[in-house]
């Protein structure tokens, strides 16, 4: 299940929905990304997330498909919010269910690394000294490269 939405989400609710009626799942790993109040500048008051509707969903689906090819997964949910968000707000949720924990941990990690480097989202931060677009980070690319053969 992949959703791009402005509304907030409830990580617990999404996890329960993924597991509902299933008894073959032995592990569920959930990652929630939150808006920080500091980033490239201190005192980030808010951020605006822009995306490329259509391509965003397709890119996320492709990442989830690749995770499913790499690990035996029983369910994946990815939710990414867009629009204006405040510090502390949940921004992204990845929930991965599998029979065993290693697959669930690794697939969740993989999906986040690929999402950060391949899904067309852009963050603009509103700080005390002005608004600016966030730059890409080398560390995110290094993280994504860990999954290359």
């Amino acid at each position: 299940m992949i959703r791009v939405q402005q509304a907030p989400f409830d990580a617990g609710e999404e996890q329960r929905a993924l597991l509902a009626g299933r008894t073959d799942i032995g592990a569920v790993v959930s990652f929630t990304g939150l808006v920080r109040d500091f980033n490239e500048r201190p005192e980030v008051a808010a951020l605006t997330l822009e995306h490329y509707p259509g391509m965003t969903e397709a890119a996320l689906a492709e990442i989830v498909e690749e995770a499913q090819e790499r690990w035996p997964l029983d369910g994946v949910s990815v939710i990414h919010r867009v629009g204006r968000l405040a510090p502390g707000d949940p921004i992204v949720l990845v929930v991965v269910a599998s029979a065993h924990r290693r697959a669930a941990f690794e697939a969740c990690d993989f999906i986040m690394d690929y999402l950060k480097t391949r899904a067309p989202f852009w963050k603009k931060e509103h700080a005390s000294d002005g608004d600016y677009w966030v730059s890409e980070r080398d560390s995110d690319h290094a993280d994504a490269r860990r999954w290359e053969p």
Binding site: P53, R118, P120
Partner: protein, 270 residues
């Protein structure tokens, strides 16, 4: 144009100025030292452990201007008639701007003296503040104006280096319009610029007639866009990604009628 500090054999030498006429020489230079907002606030209220920072840096700058010939190998010792060092605290930029101006009636220019004064004043600011902030950064030291002498007057052109990150206005609500048809009747390609690129170029969407492309691929489209509007030359600045019909593409990806081509900066979601 030749380098006056090199002789006919290309060796460094001191220029003989004995026969040059005396004239009024002036030069102004400036530079900046960036620091954390807390450090700047302490500096402004005089709360730093080493005491009056600006007064000390001012004296250091003046002393340095007078001793420039001891530091820069081929500089003449000059009897400066005036050295002034000034500071401007810029809270918005998080820096102290240091300005120095030097003057004399003489046979050689005083730009090295002004530049040395700014440099040493910045170094002294660093020394006075380093107990509370070691991340301070000195930069943008340059000559602003120069008057008198054979080479004539000089005024630095206003250059606008755009430091990253780019500061822009309020962001959009997070959506771009989709599915709009070409707004011209003939076969065309719909081009979208997204996020920071849209604001950098000042262009959101544009339709490009297919017959304006010499080659029907992304590289051909870029060339046509640059011919259409010079702002598109910025497509070559930094890392710009491209998608054709919402699939990542490169310069050799073919494009055809009714294709949607998006250009955008590296992604930063998650």
């Amino acid at each position: 144009m030749s380098l006056t500090h090199l002789n006919a054999r290309g060796e460094a030498h001191m220029v003989d100025v004995a026969d040059k006429p005396e004239s009024r020489r002036e030069a102004t230079a400036s530079g900046r030292i960036h620091m954390r907002p807390e450090t700047l606030a302490l500096l402004a209220e005089g709360g730093l452990p080493k005491g009056d920072v600006l007064a000390t840096a001012r004296i250091a700058g003046i002393q340095a201007a007078k001793r420039t010939h001891e530091l820069i190998p081929l500089c003449h010792a000059l009897a400066l008639s005036r050295v002034a060092v000034d500071f401007r605290l810029d809270e918005a930029e998080g820096c102290v701007e240091v300005t120095a101006s030097c003057r004399l009636n003489g046979r050689t220019g005083v730009e090295m003296e002004a530049l040395t004064a700014v440099s040493v004043a910045c170094l002294t600011l660093y020394d006075m503040c380093k107990a509370v902030d070691k991340s301070m950064e000195i930069g943008a030291i340059h000559l602003d104006t120069k008057r008198g002498g054979r080479s004539g007057d000089y005024r630095r052109e206003a250059v606008e280096p755009r430091p990253a990150p780019i500061v822009t206005g309020e962001g959009q609500a997070g959506e771009v319009s989709l599915g709009s048809r070409c707004d011209i009747a003939s076969p065309c390609i719909r081009v979208k610029c997204l996020a920071e690129l849209r604001e950098r170029l000042g262009i959101g969407e544009v339709s490009v007639p297919l017959d304006s492309l010499e080659r029907q691929d992304v590289a051909g489209l870029k060339a046509a866009l640059k011919a259409l509007d010079p702002r598109f030359s910025r497509l070559d600045e930094g890392r710009v990604l491209c998608a054709v019909n919402q699939v990542m593409a490169g310069d050799t990806t073919p494009v055809t009628n009714e294709d949607e081509v998006a250009f955008f900066p590296p992604v930063t979601g998650g």
